[in-house]
């Protein structure tokens, strides 16, 4: 069981040995040296005892003492090396895996992140990778160590006295059996404890997120009752785990002592009979104590492997997912787009068995045109703009940039020409200026940053911060309001000098006047940039070149504000609603 799982366990080969063969060999050599030397000290003690009983010379004992120290020095060096080679290298493997994981998820797109939530991915990148490391580092080490012990100690005790070896080592065989039985019980109960722990955690989460309801309905008594029931249950489950757990160590010690008592009885007799020397008896005592470790190690090592394997499978599940968007080598690398965007009879759905979100969209946006997409919630506006920078995959020849199929353009190249500001703005916990120059980190230009910030109408607010552009955002830094975040993310999109700017309803947190000012700034500074804006606020885009009205995934009208508002229809009613709404809010 042990051998097969050790050798078939290609996890260790894959993660550790393949990459760090040298370290593995060096580690294994130092381990085997340590384990071989491990046989020596009991023999030295035997020599001393035998010398004493036979009234040998003190110089001999002095020599033996010297050898004893020497041996332990060599052993110490060996221990240093195996620890560094095995455990140290296991952290390198951990590093490799984590980097590979990161690199891989960087290539995955929207549909992947829709399926795998952050928490799920985090748990794979932390807990699972750690379990893998535990298997390839400590797991492998313990396994090898136990293996060497099994090969080295029995021969030496049999050599010293086969009969005594049989008597004294017999009870030790109880250990693996006992360990195996108890381990199963522990595992089962441990899982129950874990489950209960997550129940507690869920209840706490629920209570705190619903604290308003809890307070409004005076529910804290009931909540405390529920929570206390969960906690009590947790205590009971823990205590039921404690029983087998607290048996483990003492019972092993007890079994060892049984061996030693047998040694005293049988060995003592043999010494009196003269079959063995007293020194041999003492040496046996030491060997018995030494065999405890490999006996317990087997179970430990197996469970580390089991967990490592299961975790590796969870990591592999992610690593085996093929990126949706692959740039082939033949992809077009250097384009200088004028900014023409064309949709040709485009339809889109997330999955084969889902409904279409977009249907037969045909639209041509000429370079430098200012286009607005309007329509009720869920009409497909966001999906449509997400297709342009290939956040979502479009079919071939359905979307063209300057008459080139966007799928033929290298995705990085494509994105470097598109300034995209999405609905939910995401800023990083870095300095504001680094957030603005996020798209061009290698050529930081303070002037450019300020210019983009002022175009996005955020520069005054940044200047008013105590540390200005050097202020950190996020948890340890300052918290911007929703509207401020949106404006920073607009500056970020401007800073890459895109030919095409896409605003996906990204001004919802900004008041109408500022919104209009931003759009005006961008329009006048646009120098021929194409601008595509998704919005609810019609007044801000009234003077756009083209307004496209979407409903249920279809284009139901195009034209200028003038043209559209003359017709009765969705646009007109949306517009009138908006005017009333704004007059209410602004007055």
């Amino acid at each position: 069981m042990f051998f097969s799982s050790f050798f078939k366990e290609n996890l260790i080969y894959r993660v550790f040995i393949k990459k760090y063969k040298k370290y593995f060999i060096l580690g294994a050599i130092s381990l085997i040296i340590v384990d071989i030397i491990n046989i020596v000290p009991p023999l030295l003690i035997k020599e001393v005892i035998d010398t004493l009983t036979s009234h040998g010379s003190i110089t001999k004992i002095l020599h033996i003492s010297g050898i004893y120290i020497l041996v332990s020095l060599v052993q110490g060096a060996g221990r240093y090396f195996w620890r560094m080679y095995f455990i140290g290298t296991s952290f390198r493997c951990d590093y490799d895996l984590r980097m590979a994981f990161f690199k891989h998820i960087e290539t995955l797109s929207h549909s992947f992140f829709r399926k795998y939530k952050t928490g799920n991915l985090m748990s794979r990148a932390t807990n699972d990778l750690n379990a893998v490391r535990m298997a390839v580092g400590p797991g492998m080490l313990i396994g090898l160590d136990a293996l060497f012990y099994f090969f080295l100690i029995p021969p030496i005790v049999i050599y010293l006295s086969p009969k005594l070896a049989l008597y004294t080592f017999l009870p030790l065989l109880l250990m693996p059996y006992f360990a195996y039985r108890i381990k199963n019980v522990i595992d089962k109960r441990f899982r129950r404890v874990q489950e209960q722990f997550s129940n507690i955690s869920e209840k706490a989460q629920e209570n705190i997120s619903g604290i308003r309801i809890v307070k409004s309905f005076n529910m804290s008594n009931q909540e405390e009752r529920t929570f206390s029931r969960l906690c009590k249950d947790f205590v009971n489950k823990n205590l039921s785990l404690v029983i087998p757990q607290s048996l483990m160590g003492p019972v092993f010690e007890y079994i060892t002592y049984l061996g030693i008592i047998i040694l005293l009885l049988a060995g003592g007799n043999m010494v009196l009979e003269g079959t063995i020397t007293l020194g041999t008896l003492i040496a046996f005592q030491r060997y018995i104590s030494k065999m405890v470790w490999p006996m317990t190690a087997v179970g430990w090592c197996l469970s580390l492997f089991q967990r490592g394997k299961a975790s590796m499978e969870r990591v592999d599940e992610i690593m085996d997912i093929k990126p949706e968007i692959i740039s082939s080598k033949s992809a077009i690398k250097n384009i200088r787009p004028a900014g023409k965007v064309e949709f040709k009879d485009l339809s889109f759905r997330y999955n084969k068995n889902e409904d279409f979100i977009l249907r037969n969209i045909s639209l041509e946006i000429t370079p430098g045109q200012k286009v607005a997409l309007i329509g009720p919630v869920g009409c497909g506006k966001t999906t449509l703009v997400n297709l342009i920078p290939r956040i979502l995959p479009a079919e071939h020849n359905k979307i063209l940039l300057d008459d080139i199929d966007i799928n033929k353009i290298d995705v990085k190249e494509l994105r470097s020409h598109i300034g995209f500001v999405s609905q939910d703005t995401f800023l990083f916990s870095e300095k504001i200026k680094n957030n603005i120059s996020f798209g061009n980190p290698d050529q930081f230009d303070e002037c450019k940053v300020r210019e983009c910030a002022s175009m996005s109408m955020i520069s005054n607010e940044i200047d008013n911060l105590p540390e200005g552009y050097d202020s950190y955002l996020g948890e340890r830094g300052i918290n911007l309001s929703g509207g401020q975040k949106q404006r920073v993310s607009i500056a970020r999109a401007l800073a890459i000098n895109p030919r095409i700017l896409i605003f996906d309803d990204c001004l919802s947190g900004v008041d109408a006047r500022t919104e209009e000012a931003i759009i005006k700034n961008i329009s006048t500074e646009a120098n021929g940039r194409t601008l595509i804006v998704v919005t609810h606020r019609i007044p801000a885009i009234m003077d756009f070149d083209l307004i496209v009205v979407l409903q249920n995934g279809e284009i139901i009208g195009t034209g200028t504000h003038q043209q559209l508002s003359e017709r009765d229809g969705l646009y007109k009613s949306l517009y009138e609603n908006e005017v009333v709404r704004e007059s209410l809010a602004e007055g």
Partner: protein, 595 residues
């Protein structure tokens, strides 16, 4: 979901008097068990020390003197001592875990109860994940301190001291020689425990950095890809990760030196025993048995020393957790919570339901006012609709009436009594609220209607029937026993509304606040809901925030808010006649409902 906050990293003060004192007060609740535990550890240590001595005695008086009977006698004695010790250790393990679990439970419950009393504004500032971590992982770390920490270390100290004492009792000179490495051992241990402590803290910090970076990057992956930042962020992650790797390798190296160093010290001690023991033996000053016992003792002193160094990290983590847990316990509860304020004013006996706002000003976190001098009145049994654009302060009205938030200026009167003078729990029994986002608890539909109060099924079904929603319950696969999935994801928007309406009727408040959600509901449910709302508000003073015209039209009075100020007030007819904001809003709603 776990949140990865770098704030949660270990600050690492090892010893803090106030924290220790606080922790001790929890242990003292179980002082009998705790003292018993220490006694048991003491006894077990004595027996542990007996083992090698008896083995040596068997050699000296049995084997060397060729007394078979003595060997057997000692073997049996050893067997009984060991059996007893094993049982003692098992019992002691159980006992200490028991204490640890109970302390953990006490702490967890106390913290949970304390969290219940904190003001809503506290929860606005503190993310849920952080508070959950306090209740779960931080308390678990403290539990570990009890179960795996303190007593084990006490046991270790007993063993170290016990071995030293025993050695001196057996042979003073040999003990002196054998233990002359001890100061070096302690020095090495102290030296490395410091290094290890620092490295461990750094590891924690760097791991927290990795995790928060990873978390942020996964969440913001789309932005990274859009701005072609993959390479750059990979490089940053690489350097964060490498930092961590180097710290880990450093940590491993400390252990790689520390452990062998202890081993070598141990070997040195054994060699000294061999050499000096031989000298004493030859001068008939020492028996073989005692020499053998010395080997066992010197071997036994090594594990506890290593153990203590390893426990250091647990202590450190637990101290940091304790600091955070007790820090949270120090947060002050909301005003007038849970003190039944008969002292402040008599509890309201019979509630008529008159509500009056008198020049009420409200601000959240000292920023701009969200309500600016609002005054209005609701007569008993009347209903008031509040309308206005998003952010006009509608929800704030409901928040201050239930005192989820406190007002800054002005007064709110309930039956002519200032609500400040009514105990909060009673106030919230009088004023019931249906909020915009319907919060469902995991449990059954029954639990969500009764809110875990003991209400008979008959009552609940009556309530549902009263609302005309029996049909809805019959449609559920297991009726009232139907499980509600996390946050009610297995229920439609309409069904969730049904539950919240039944909930409020079962709660039976004197004054009702209804903050209606604008979710899309199928027309059939819509009619049912409208009908139910009518029934609930009947004969009850109510404040209604709605986007549905029919609901608003059913109210006795309408209040129009704008930027936290009252702009219009009156009945539908009078307001339509003035052709102000309300009439515009009315058109907007009318149009929306016709679309």
């Amino acid at each position: 979901m776990k949140e990865y906050l770098s704030e949660d990293i270990i600050r690492g003060k090892m010893y803090d008097r106030t924290i220790i004192k606080k922790l001790m007060s929890y242990i003292m609740r179980y002082r009998f068990s705790a003292i018993l535990s220490i006694l048991m550890v003491f006894l077990a240590t004595l027996m542990f020390l007996l083992g090698p001595y008896m083995f040596g005695y068997a050699i000296d008086h049995g084997i060397v003197k060729a007394d078979k009977g003595m060997v057997v006698k000692m073997a049996l004695l050893l067997l009984s001592v060991e059996t007893f010790r094993t049982l003692l250790v098992i019992a002691q393990n159980y006992n200490i875990q028991n204490i640890g679990q109970k302390v953990m439970m006490d702490l967890r419950m106390e913290l949970f109860s304390h969290i219940q009393t904190l003001p809503v504004s506290f929860f606005d500032k503190n993310p849920v994940g952080r508070l959950v971590t306090r209740l779960t992982n931080d308390i678990a770390a403290l539990g570990e301190l009890f179960s795996a920490g303190i007593i084990v270390v006490i046991g270790d100290v007993f063993i170290i001291v016990g071995i030293i004492v025993t050695m001196f009792l057996l042979n003073v000179k040999l003990a002196l020689v054998a233990l002359c490495v001890l100061p070096a051992m302690f020095a090495i241990s102290i030296f490395f425990s410091r290094k290890i402590k620092i490295a461990f803290r750094e590891i924690k910090r760097k791991l927290a950095r990795i995790n928060s970076y990873l978390n942020e990057n996964i969440t913001g992956m789309e932005t990274i890809q859009l701005f072609n930042r993959e390479k750059k962020n990979y490089e940053t992650f690489d350097s964060v990760n490498k930092d961590y790797l180097h710290e880990q390798v450093r940590y491993v190296r400390y252990y790689a030196i520390f452990q062998p160093a202890l081993n070598i010290m141990n070997a040195l001690s054994v060699a000294l025993i061999l050499w000096y023991g031989a000298i004493r033996y030859f001068s008939n000053d020492l028996t073989l048995g005692i020499l053998v016992a010395f080997f066992a003792y010197i071997q036994g002193i090594f594990d506890p020393i290593r153990d203590i160094v390893e426990k250091y990290n647990i202590f450190q983590g637990a101290m940091a957790s304790a600091e955070r847990v007790f820090g949270l316990m120090k947060e002050s509860p909301e005003d007038d919570y849970g003190k039944l304020t008969f002292s402040k004013g008599k509890a309201l006996q019979k509630v008529e339901g008159k509500v009056e706002f008198k020049d009420v000003w409200v601000t959240y976190n000292n920023s701009d006012y969200v309500l600016k001098g609002l005054s209005f009145k609701i007569e008993a049994g009347q209903s008031l609709a509040i309308v206005g654009a998003t952010g006009s302060g509608k929800t704030s009205v409901t928040n201050v009436l239930t005192r989820l938030y406190e007002i800054d200026k002005g007064a709110i009167l309930l039956d002519n009594r200032n609500i400040q003078d009514i105990d909060k729990t009673q106030l919230r029994q009088i004023v019931g609220m249906i909020s915009q986002d319907i919060f469902l608890f995991s449990g059954t539909i029954r639990d969500n209607i009764s809110l875990f109060n003991s209400i008979s099924d008959k009552r609940i079904l009556e309530t549902i029937n009263e609302l005309g929603l029996t049909h809805f319950i019959n449609r559920m696969p297991h009726g009232l026993d139907t499980k509600v999935a996390e946050r009610g994801s297995n229920l439609s928007a309409g069904e969730r509304q049904f539950i919240s309406l039944a909930r409020i009727l079962a709660y039976d408040p004197d004054i009702l606040i209804l903050d209606e959600a604008t979710s899309n509901i199928d027309p059939v449910s819509e009619v049912l809901i409208q009908d139910a709302i009518q029934k609930i508000t009947k004969d009850r003073s109510s404040i209604i925030i709605s986007h549905r015209l029919s609901t608003i039209l059913n109210c006795d009075h309408i209040l129009v808010l704008k930027h936290g100020e009252k702009v219009e007030e009156g009945t539908h007819e009078t307001l339509m006649r003035t052709k102000g904001l309300y009439s515009q809003l009315y058109k907007l709603y009318l149009r929306k409902e016709s679309v």
